[in-house]
Amino acid sequence: MEELLSTFVRAIFVDNMVFAYYLGMCSYLAVSKNVSTALGLGIAVTFILVCTLPINYMLENYVLKEGALSWLGPQYSGVNLSFLSLLLFIAIIASFTQLVEMVVERFAPALYSSLGIFLPLIAVNCAILGGSLFMQQKDFAHAGQATVYGLGSGIGWLLAIVGMAAVREKLAYSDIPKPLRGLGITFILTGLMGIGFMCFSGLKI
């Protein structure tokens, strides 16, 4: 239990997807113009992370890893399919994104139109494939831990994009040097928020 809690808190604050690894920056920069859209996208990303991580964890440990196929019989124990992992992970992620897109279109048409192209592009949001690849590196003990890690990184991403959207809403009233307007100032703000988040890096749980 403690282990799960620690994975969860670390994924939100210490290994924050945006501030520590810069994952999912493209949609983070493009959609963080107002809070409600940012919240919608954040929830969608969290949902997809929570769904895809355990599935990819199972794939990794029961199909792809060296020796993972030994449950089929001893003659398969030497098979190493890990070179296929990128292809399979991205296929799982793309199909889940399709699913979420259909659900959002049916139940929240306003959100659907405000997210526009960025909803299907969740499939290529680096934060999600990044989650699966980090999961592969971190060698989690069981699928539950992978799920918790997915939830934590999703919430971390949500926190980052909503925070940035809130700052940018206020930024509309400030006097920024012309060449820095828009993209430039957003980069600097993200950097400053990143420095703020670094104070969590000494956190021991």
Partner: protein
Amino acid sequence: MGLSNKNKAILAGPLSKNNPIVVQMLGICSALAVTSKLEPAIVMAISVTVVMAFANVIISLLRNTIPNRIRIIVQLVVVAALVTIVGEVLKAFAYDVNKQLSVFVGLIITNCILMGRLEAFALANGPWASFLDGIGNGLGYGLILVIVGFVRELFGFGTLLGHQVVPEIFYKWGYVNNGLMILPPMALIIVAAVIWIHRSRNKDLQEK
């Protein structure tokens, strides 16, 4: 070999006016993460350029046969296959750099530059133009990576490509490497500085 003017524009545009990172806002994630030193930045730039050129050519050849509804999946599969090849090559010939790049080689798949250029260019143009577009955008991306990597390694470690360039004597006089440069947030601030300089020279790119 003479290139027509249009092709020259395709190749050279992404280096400045139409740069994928600072103007089109594509491929930012990896640009920031791999640039704490110059060497991984260069390797990353080369890998992305190669993947992009070939993905552009393949998609451009297939563009009339891919049904519109499933094009994203097809693009992902093509790119994922190419990235797998590049990843295996890196593991074989540049193992140390591959270790430093860690998950970011795999993340080339979700690098928005690839999807962005495939959608915006390769689906509407012939293979040769698409190849040039891929190379051009790869180089434009690489240019920013190299600038950021150069600044961060020079001030953060006092080295370039692993060789000491800041003379020993400076340290005796009290010069200290800037530890902040190595930390993730500085990459963002350096890119912001690049954007600032770039946009004050090209006034038409300024927002609002």
